[in-house]
Amino acid sequence: MNRREVTFGLGALAASGLFPWTRAHAAGPDLVAAAEAEGKVTWYTTMIVDQSVRPLAAAFMKRYPKIAVEFTRAGSGDTALKIINEGQAGRMMGDVFDGTATFSSVMPAGFVEPYKPDSAAAYPDKFKAADGSWHALNFYYLTAAYNTDLVSADEAPKTFNDLLDPKWKNQLVWSVVPEPVAAPGFLGNMLMAKGEEQGMAYLDKLAAQKVTNMNSSQRTVLDRVIVGDFPMGLMVFNHHVAISKAKGAPIEWLHMEPLVSSASLLGLIKGAPHPNAGKLFIDWLLSDEGQRVLASTNYLPSRPGVDAAIPTLLPTGPKPFETTFMSPTIVADNLKTWIGLLDKKFM
């Protein structure tokens, strides 16, 4: 039995939860040595820094103290742009990327380096690309949320059609960043759920409600709702709502079905300056240890056997909900169309 098989076996055992003491991440010593020689990994992330990036980076650096994690946070679109621009200029700075729409831009541009980490063996096929070009890092569920100081539970809309009530005119806000987990995904959700014709009719009516467009992250949209700038926000992450609620913020999310679901896809950048550190970091992020740290921040882990800290955030949890899954293929095929539609109808 070679080392790979040993690690694989241990990983599988750990994943099955039989040996909880084997949860500590164990990558091959060669990879660790090569990664340590590189000394740092640059992570182009779309996650929110204080909520999850910092805890993840800190835990990795605790496990591998000789490797520093540098990160830059931006949306999927900006992150993809950065990678493509740097790659085309021959000045690649990043090693690892994630995001819901990063992959669909970076892959066709030719800047993804396929890599199958040992820790990913435990993942079902639908959570990873066959060639190792991407792995699901975590899941997102997007919905509407309202400020509980300004809107009562009774008054809050229950369905998408309720959003068309005149009282919500000028009161709604969303992020228009070019991602399936923002306004473009809302449009896609309506077109897929209601069908092309009815979906379009619905979007025309919604456009008349004058939704406020923000160019920043979904997190800032939620903050504007929490602070009371708007009574209600669309396309916010339900786990962000949970994180803020835990701090006492007057906010609640709605089971407005179908919710949009999406996965953040993790990948290695081709021509990365620290390829081994990048591989080790990916291996660790997908490992039982990395996924547990991710789950502890209230993000929703992708690894089988690692439970979400707040199960009600999941469609399969105690309060189940319907979702439209924005699969990598759907995103690659439709995102541009939805962005164009958004520009035409809502900007």
Binding site: A80, G94, N215, S216, M347
Partner: protein, 584 residues
């Protein structure tokens, strides 16, 4: 030609002739060396913009062939008209706000018996050390839908609608106007200080009322200075990036600078050809405006009446209007200093953004401050920014010293060097960023993505400002001193080092601090050049704002602003001693 080659020949000359040979030679070498250094720093941004604006950009980001399509697209863009009108409206009205507000304040504080004058200076000094983004985010919160003003309005009227939406052209104008008012105050206060009070006295004694005197005498006398300053603020507002990015972009109010930014940051691959064409047009526009500014500012001192007598002008008695003056000084103190700081303090103490209401106090914690002080990231931000600021200010002032001296003494070739050093003035920050981005991506040096990229770009961008300090400073030093040094056998460089530089040190210090303060807070250049390994404060703050970490932004911003205020205080004190070698 180098000094070494000429040395043997020179040493064969007679003593007297040797001195003149050396002087001629040293100066000439200096001019040539400066021309080469400045040429390398200043010319490439303009050249690369021009080349890229005329080149076809292939889908794989390579460049090939010539084209005019980028310019055609620019001029046929249906949104151009709207963007242009937005830009002009924004610049014009924010100039009016800044001048009315800052100018009135300067007159009140310098020329009248208004009380609480110290508050005006305090406001100005602290505002000089505070990053623009911090101000903008604080005012956005204050003027926002849930800010104290709208909150009070809603409580009073019971509606859900708002009195005022800051994410609008009006909001942009107000915020930009407030942002510039401290600088207007600073510059106009020196104008009013040196104005002759006798004319105002005479007007009052001839029976003119307060308003009539102010209108027909005080303002008339300051008109040339005000006109020059107005054009200057107008140009800066056309070039502004912070307010358009933080206020305009979320409110869908596009101006020229945000359009350039979008064409780089929001398209794959970045539309560098279009951005370059756009930039070239902006450059030309700013160059034309600056040409008129140059004409105006030459006349700025036309009515200044500094004489030996009445050096401290008598103060104008506002009479019954005095409380109005007091109120305005306090209003400025509140709106430009106290309220933004309070808003930031409020945000920094809360775990998430909440409206300013008493109920929030129960949730106060120092968690954001603890995170900021213990985080490696914030330490890196601060250190990188300080390095960039120190390098840009030091290199910039050294170049400015030589250029300013050559130019003030009208040495042969100095005019060319001076023009080179002044050229960066026509570059809006975002355009400078575009140009240097393309340069660093194409040179085979490992500069892209490092803090040295920023240091170089800031050195070039603020060189003209440093030059203003040294040029004005050298003019104030009589040529006799150098002639005396020369007669005693000193070479030009020796007298520059041992006579001019020491006498110039207050101006050099002021210039250094000015560049340092502005290079450590401006976003426009850095937003395109700062990478994951070279984060700086302004970009870090922008990221925090865009990504929704307002609490940490406020905590970090307050700490940073406190440190920078110390630097700004030194600037203010040094500026006082430099005898008004003030530059714009």
């Amino acid at each position: 030609m180098t000094i070494e080659q000429d040395w043997p020949r020179v040493s064969q000359q007679k003593a007297g002739a040797r001195a003149s040979w050396l002087r001629l030679d040293q100066t000439r070498v200096l001019v040539i060396a400066l021309a080469i250094i400045l040429g390398i720093l200043v010319a490439p941004p303009a050249i690369i913009l021009l080349l890229r604006s005329l080149s076809i950009t292939n889908p794989d980001a390579t460049v090939g062939g010539w084209t005019l399509t980028h310019y055609l697209r620019f001029f046929t863009n249906p949104d151009l008209y709207r963007t242009l009108v937005n830009s002009l409206t924004f610049a014009l009205f924010s100039t009016v706000v800044a001048l009315l507000f800052g100018g009135t304040l300067a007159w009140l504080v310098e020329r009248t018996n208004t009380r609480f004058k110290a508050l005006a200076y305090l406001t100005t000094v602290i505002s000089m050390g505070t990053p623009y983004i911090l101000y903008v985010s604080a005012w956005l919160f204050l003027l926002g839908r849930s800010g104290p003003f709208n909150d009070a309005w809603r409580t009073m009227t019971g509606t859900r609608q708002v009195l005022f939406n800051p994410y609008s052209l009006t909001g942009m104008i107000l915020i930009e106007g407030f942002l510039w008012s401290p600088l207007v105050f600073l510059l106009l206060s020196s104008t009013f200080r040196s104005a002759n009070a006798d004319l105002e006295e005479a007007a009052r004694m001839s029976g003119a009322g307060v308003l009539r005197t102010v209108w027909s005498v005080s303002i008339r006398m300051a008109t040339p200075a005000i006109a020059a300053l107005a054009l200057f603020v107008f140009i800066r507002a056309i070039e502004a990036f912070e307010v358009p990015a933080l206020v305009g972009m979320p409110g869908n109010v596009d101006v020229l600078t945000t359009d350039v930014y979008r064409s780089i940051k929001e398209s794959i691959p970045p539309d560098l050809g279009y951005a370059s064409a756009y930039s070239v047009v902006l450059l030309v526009a700013v160059a034309i405006l600056l040409h008129f500014y140059g004409k105006l500012s030459r006349n700025a001192g036309r009515y200044s009446t500094v004489t030996g007598k009445g050096y401290r002008p008598r103060q104008f008695d506002l009479g019954k209007w005095r409380p109005v003056g007091d109120a305005l000084v306090i209003f400025n103190f509140l709106i430009v200093l106290v309220l933004p700081l309070l808003a930031l303090l409020w945000l920094s103490l809360l775990p998430y953004m909440r409206p300013m209401r008493p109920s929030g106090v129960a949730q106060f914690s120092l968690a954001n401050f603890a995170t900021v002080l213990s985080s490696e990231y914030y330490r890196t931000l601060a250190i990188n920014t300080l390095i960039v600021g120190v390098v840009a200010a030091s290199v910039g002032m050294i170049l400015a010293l030589f250029t300013g001296w050559l130019s003030a003494r009208r040495k042969a070739g100095a005019q060319f060097v001076d023009q080179l050093a002044t050229m960066p003035l026509v570059f809006p920050g975002i355009v400078m960023g575009v140009a240097f981005l393309m340069i660093f991506l194409s040179v085979p040096l490992p500069i892209y993505g490092t803090i040295w990229a920023l240091a170089i770009a800031y050195t070039v961008r603020y060189l003209p400002y440093g030059l203003r300090y040294t040029y004005a400073g050298v003019l104030q030093i009589s040529n006799e001193l150098e002639e005396a040094a020369g007669a005693s056998g000193a070479t030009p460089l020796q007298s520059l080092r041992r006579v001019i530089a020491p006498l110039l040190s207050p101006a050099l210090l002021s210039g250094w601090l000015f560049i340092f303060l502005i290079a450590t807070k401006e976003l426009a250049v850095a937003v395109l050049l700062s990478g994951p390994s070279s984060p700086v404060v302004a970009v870090g703050m922008y990221d925090l704002w865009v990504n929704g970490q307002g609490g940490e932004l406020a905590a970090f911003g307050l700490i940073w602003a406190a440190v920078m205020t110390l630097v700004a205080s030194v600037f203010y004190l040094a500026g006082g001693r430099a005898g008004g070698a003030g530059a714009h």
